[in-house]
């Protein structure tokens, strides 16, 4: 059978129930017999659990199934039970005993409960939580339901892409003529870029975007999650494994649904996505926003290093190209 460790969220294979060690983090776990499942308390009812901040259980109280380790930087546990040390000879914790730190109760995202809450209400509620309360949402969301997160991201990001493609196609006639004019006065390599951009506004390209939007959203989510997780691994900031990263990226990707807003939708969605994914990774992976920010921007920094190198090496070439451009404009009697 396959089991998941509640501390590190790692999965492992075992052939027996009972006490055993997690092969990833070494924590002692007890795998209960399915026959005893009937004795488990019923799951909390769905709905209304996301209102208000996360409140950890009382110190010392056993967390419920699915509880996760506390955040780094959480308030330190009480060194002594309330009321001071117990008198000698009485019942109570032994000297020096420190109760375990309070843990956070994980909750399924509203969208993961869409069968009971309704599809559109759960979609809207999840989008609101992701966009307006990312820290609280990603601190408490269950990370073993990554499928719902991916579906959420694919649906909304596809919607944004489709809306953007339609807006681009609607305004393509004016943009194309402007681009043709600009390309006519440019040297061939630069003109090729403009013609390429113009080609991306054709009807066939728009139809292609509409059809492939969900596929590209799915690929984008999985590749982004893989890249972020690799950088987090290098930073040793993945206590909750890949599912936490994928859940964060999936829900954050839903913000690309803001592409339905004409003109500003795309840039706003990108900035909002970056902010939410940094906050979300910090909370979901329990690694803090600093490491999450490094993970998000490291690939960009690597690209910048490459580009800066290219700019440095190609500086002379660029100056020459600009000079040619100016000469061409002078010959044609136009000004740049």
């Amino acid at each position: 059978m396959i089991a998941r460790c509640a501390r590190c969220q790692g999965t492992f294979t075992t052939d027996r129930f009972g006490a055993q060690s997690c092969p990833h983090c070494g924590t002692t776990l007890d795998l209960a017999d399915p026959g005893a499942a009937a004795a488990q308390p019923p799951p909390p009812p769905a709905g209304g659990q996301w209102a208000g901040p996360a409140t950890p259980p009382a110190p010392g109280a056993p967390p419920a199934a699915g509880a996760v380790p506390p955040l780094p930087g959480a308030p330190p546990p009480h060194a002594l039970p309330p009321g001071g040390p117990p008198p000698a000879g009485s019942w109570g914790p032994p000297p020096g005993w420190t109760p375990p730190p309070p843990s956070i109760q994980e909750l399924p995202a509203p969208f993961a409960e869409r069968s009971t809450r309704g599809f559109f209400p759960s979609l809207v509620e999840t989008a609101k939580l992701v966009a307006t309360q990312p820290a609280d949402f990603f601190r408490r969301v269950r990370v073993d339901q990554a499928g719902s997160a991916v579906l959420f991201g694919v649906l909304l990001a596809s919607l944004g892409t489709i809306a953007g493609a339609v807006y681009g196609w609607l305004g393509s006639s004016a943009s194309l003529s402007a681009m043709e004019e600009m390309a006519a006065g440019l040297p061939e390599p630069q003109a090729r870029i403009f013609r390429g951009l113009g080609g991306m506004m054709s009807g066939a390209f728009t139809v292609g975007q509409l059809v492939t939007a969900p596929l590209f959203a799915l690929i984008g989510i999985y590749l982004s999650a893989a890249l972020l997780h690799l950088v987090l691994l290098v930073l040793r900031a993945t206590p909750r494994r890949f599912d936490a990263t994928l859940t964060t990226v999936g829900y954050a990707y839903g913000l690309f649904g803001l592409g339905v807003l004409p003109l500003c939708g795309g840039p706003v969605a990108l900035v909002w996505y970056l902010a939410v994914v940094i906050i979300g990774l910090g909370e979901a992976q329990r690694c803090g926003a600093g490491k999450a920010a490094v993970a998000v921007f490291a690939p960009v920094l690597l690209a910048c290093v490459c580009c800066c190198g290219a700019v440095g090496l190609g500086g002379a070439g660029a100056v020459q190209a600009l000079k040619e451009l100016a000469d061409t404009a002078k010959d044609q009697g136009t000004s740049l």
Binding site: M1, I2, R7, D15, T28, Q40, P63, A64, P100, G317
Partner: protein
Amino acid sequence: MTAGSDTAPSGGVLATTVLGPPGGVARAFGHAEVYALIAALSFVAARFLPVLSLPYTCPSRSLLGLPCATCGMTHAFVALAHGDLGAALAASPLGALLAAGAWVYALADAARLVAGRPLPRLSDRLWRAAALAGAAALLANWAWLLAQRG
């Protein structure tokens, strides 16, 4: 699926979850299979779609006359998908390596699923080494492209 709980060494109580049936094997369509599918799709696209006809030019190459770190990867994928290893390596050595790795991974994952074998688990240390090697390979590939075409 069931859950149980026990006392951890630190004194805390932890729950753990059974994700599969007793005696079962990991046959479900999981993340590994999604990545294998993406890899397989990249082969289909490179082999059967006119991806080189897309109206796209690398901005770095057009504006500065220098290739970027990922220049030539599409050409490498397409050339390798058509069995031209030399052209793939000439277009981008890292691209050729990436394409070969991705497609071998897709085949291996399909074979693993058919055989009903569990997904081998790599240690975090190995993943870290792979990530650092990947970044170094990207820089090395870029240096090679600059030397060849810059």
